[in-house]
Structure formats: C-alpha cells, structure tokens
C-alpha cells in the first residue's frame, strides 16, 4: 500500500462518516436489524478499511460492554455504534491497516471520551425532533398527509447528520491520536495490550450484572464448567460447545419452571 496523502485521508474520513451515518440509522430511525450493533458494525467498517478481524475484535469488546444498555422510555444510552465505527476506523487507518492489540486497546479507551458526546448529541436531536411533530400538525393548506410524510422522513436526515457530523469532527482526531500512539514507548503498548484483554472481562461483567441478580448464578457457572471442560479437556470445536451450552440453558430453565 502506497503512502496516503492528505486527500486520501479526507476521502476516507468522508466515506466512513457517510457509511457510519447510514449504519447509525439502524439504531433508532430505521429497522433495528442490529446492523448497528458493535459486533456487526465494527467488522463491517473493518472490512471497508481493509481489516475485518481488527474491527471484529474491537466490536466484540464494545458489544459486551454496552449490550445491556437499553433504550427504554426516555433513556438514551451511549451510542455504541459510533464507538465501534470510530474505534475500528481510527485504529485501522491510524496504524496503517494492521493495528496491533495495543492500538485496538488504545482506540477502545478513547471511546470513553466519545460516549458523553454521543449521548449529548442524541439528547439534543431528540429534543429538537419535537418540532417535526409541530410542523406536521400545522395547517398550511398543503394537506396534512404530505406534511406528515415530509416531517417524519426528514427525521431520517437529522439522525444521519448527527452521526455524520460526529465522525467528521472526531475521526480525524482519532486517526491522529492512533498515529501518535504507534510511536510511544513499549511500556505503554504493553499497558494497552493488557487493557484490551481486561476490557473483555469488564464487558462480560457488565453484561452478567444486568442479566442476573446473583453473580454466582448457577447458569454462569454451568456455562463456565461446560466450556472449560469441553475446550480444555476434549478440545471441542466452538460450535459444539455453543450447541451444548444452549441445551444446558434450556434444560436449566425447564428445571426451574418445574
């Protein structure tokens, strides 16, 4: 791959911002087919930037971390889609296609600064969207059906622009930060490698905490023992273990119901 010019970077940022904006529509405005979830959007952006596995690794960590943050009522959770798209793009573009584990860890760390921005932007947008309902209810003689459709569908544009602008502003900063990080002393790389590994465990804890009231839930321990024995003792394939884990969960629920 040749040396990238400033124009190349600009094009990439615009491209990722546009794709990220479209993916972000799935989160609230259109469909909710879960394309926007980090474990899907991360590798998708990774693929577009030239490294699916880096995007998938980043997406997996962010998925676990935010999976139980639910959009219930007026609560607007941190935008894990922007975090995944941004971290995947920044680490792959900033480190030159093949980011190390430490770079991935560093880009995930930077998303901590992005989360409050996305929440604030979401809150502002959803407050302003009330104007759309007022516009739709106005009687300007043009027909309520037309006004309703125009007002409602323009919401898509606003949701897109919210993400697009965040990427345009923050993705270049992320790429610069990752480029800087590549040259830092080895100890910092070692720290971020461990940070990546441990963040996966924090993500698991975050998911488990909301799924059960008891940390020592027998279901967690059942999955743990089955997986440890099957993977370490028998060297079973992941799909085999997954099938047995699903069966075990089903049996346990049946037993509890009885």
């Amino acid at each position: 791959m040749g040396v990238m010019t400033g124009q190349d970077y600009l094009f990439q940022v615009l491209f990722i911002a546009a794709v990220g904006g479209l993916i972000g529509l799935d989160r609230t405005a259109f469909g909710q087919f879960m394309i926007s979830q980090p474990i899907v959007s991360g590798p998708l952006i990774g693929w577009l930037c030239g490294n699916v596995e880096a995007g998938l690794a980043i997406g997996a960590v962010l998925e676990l971390l935010w999976v139980m943050d639910m959009p219930i009522g007026t609560f607007v959770p941190a935008d894990s889609t922007i975090a995944a798209v941004w971290a995947a793009a920044a680490s792959i573009i900033g480190a030159g296609v093949d980011p190390s584990a430490s770079v991935m860890g560093f880009s995930i760390l930077l998303t901590a600064g992005l989360a409050p921005v996305t929440m604030k932007a979401d809150a502002v947008l959803r407050k302003r969207n009330a104007r759309l309902a007022k516009y739709a209810a106005m009687d300007d003689g043009g027909g309520i059906a037309r006004r309703l459709s125009n007002a409602h569908l323009s919401g898509l544009l606003f949701f897109f622009l919210r993400s697009f602008i965040i990427y345009i502003v923050f993705l270049p900063l992320g790429i610069l930060a990752v480029s800087w990080f590549v040259g830092v002393p080895k100890a910092l790389h070692s720290a971020m490698e461990w940070f990546l590994r441990l963040m996966l465990l924090v993500g698991l804890a975050s998911a488990a905490r909301r799924l059960t009231v008891s940390p020592l839930d027998p279901l967690i321990l059942t999955g743990f023992v089955l997986s440890a024995v099957l993977s370490h003792v028998f060297g079973a394939h992941g799909l085999v273990i997954a099938s047995i884990v699903i069966a075990a969960g089903w049996v346990e629920v049946r037993r509890r119901v009885r």
Partner: protein, 259 residues
C-alpha cells in the same frame, strides 16, 4: 365483522409493515413515536377515507402521543388498521381506536423490551462473541441471522395477528408466551457469559492472558476478575469509570514493569 365487507387486504397490511420499519424516524422526547405511527397508518387511512377532511381528522387522531417497543408496535398497528376498517363501516367509535392504542402501548413496551432488548439481544451477542473468541470470523453473520430470523418472524406475525384479533390482548398473551421465551433467552445468554470465561485459555491470541498459567488457572483467574468487577459495578462503578480506572492501572503496572 358480521355482514360487513373487508376492504383491507394483505398488500395493505404489508405496506403498513414496511412503513412500520420507520416508526422511530422522527422519535422525540415529547411525542416519541406519534408521527411514525400516523405515517405507518397513512396508506390504509387514505384507502378507508376517500373524503379529505375525514382523512385529515383520522391522521390527526393518530398523531397523539404514542410509544411502545418498536417491533411490537406492529401488533398495535395491525389492530388499529382493523378498528379503523370497522370504524369506516360505522361499527366502531373514535374512542375504541384511541383506547386500544392507549391500553396496549405500555404493556407491549414492557414485554418487548424484556424479550428483545434484555433477552434476544444479549443472547445473540454473547453467542457471537463466544464464536469469535473461539475462532470463527462468521460470528457477526450468526448474530444477524439468529436475531433477524426470530425478530422478523415475530414482527410480521404480530401485525397480522393484531389485525385478525382486533388487538385482543388476552389472545395475544395466549398465543405469544413472551415472558417464558424471554426467560429462556436470558438464561442461555448467562450460560454463554460463563462459557466465554470458561474458554479463556483458547481465546484468540490478542485476548489470551499470556502469563504462562495453565488453561484451568487462566479460566479461574478470568472468572475471579469478572466476579470482582460485578461486585464493583454493584457498588456503583459505571463501565466508563471502570474503563478509565483500568487503563490507569495498566499504565501504572507497565511503567513499573509488572506487565
């Protein structure tokens, strides 16, 4: 609908379904999904009410405050289509339609949140992360297929059922045992959380704890860290605060040469 002709066909309902995919396009704190609901109803209302003034009255009525779980809004939309069809034939009042929407949106919101956001989503996510960490790059595809086959089956099904049952909540609960399904999904998701930790020694290299421990010790160590983190979270530590604290800890440990 004894003695009355049905004017709404499957094609009309499918049109409503496609528009329901956009029910949150203009989501706001004040009115939530109100515009989205009216937008989804538009083609059916236009068919039922050729008189422009009547159409506008019904569209305004459907712009009242509305919020529920977006997938299960399809049930209320199906029911609203049926009630509007009957209203157009003089068999229902305005209050029947509004009352049905008001009475169903909160319970369906709670049911849907529990089934999809707190059940299916963590199940699909934990399965996908497990497959990825144990070596499959197809994990995102598994996630999408598992999630969407189930969710679309329910989403389309409840729209037609809402129309057929005219929004009968008792029939809905009897047909779709969402509480039990949600419990099953959460249980399997929890098993997968345990399974991911149990397989810690065979995780992808970038996540593996490379400190020379045996497989069993690595898995046990990971379990202890997860349990300790849960304890911290129960004491009020947010994921973001833990992220920052963990990074500081890692940097400090690397600086003094521990890791």
């Amino acid at each position: 609908m004894s003695g009355k002709k049905r004017t709404i066909g499957r094609a009309d309902l499918l049109r409503v379904f496609l528009r329901s995919l956009l029910i949150q396009a203009s989501w706001s704190f004040e009115m939530m999904q109100s515009l989205g609901f009216a937008y989804a109803m538009l083609p059916v209302l236009a068919k039922l009410y050729p008189d422009r003034e009547e159409l506008e009255r019904r569209l305004k009525a459907h712009q009242a405050y509305f919020n529920t779980q977006p997938y299960l809004s399809a049930f209320i939309l199906g029911a609203a289509v049926r009630l509007e069809e009957e209203r157009a034939q003089g068999m229902r009042s305005d209050d029947d339609v509004a009352g049905m929407k008001e009475s169903l949106m909160a319970p369906l919101g709670a049911l849907g949140d529990s089934l999809f956001w707190a059940g299916l989503k963590p199940l699909a996510a934990s399965l996908a992360v497990f497959l990825f960490l144990t070596g499959s790059v197809w994990a995102p595809l598994v996630y999408l297929v598992l999630y969407n086959v189930f969710h679309l089956f329910i989403r389309v099904g409840v729209l037609f059922f809402g129309y057929d049952s005219a929004g009968d909540a008792v029939l809905f609960v009897a047909k779709y045992n969402f509480t039990s399904v949600a419990r099953l999904f959460k249980a399997i998701a929890l098993c997968f959380v345990g399974a991911i930790i149990g397989a810690a020694a065979v995780w992808r290299p970038e996540f593996r704890m490379g400190i020379g421990l045996s497989g069993a010790a690595t898995a046990m160590g990971s379990l202890v860290i997860v349990l300790a983190t849960i304890a911290l979270m129960r004491r009020g530590a947010s994921p973001l605060a833990l992220m920052l604290a963990l990074s500081a800890l890692c940097i400090a440990a690397a600086t003094i040469g521990v890791i």
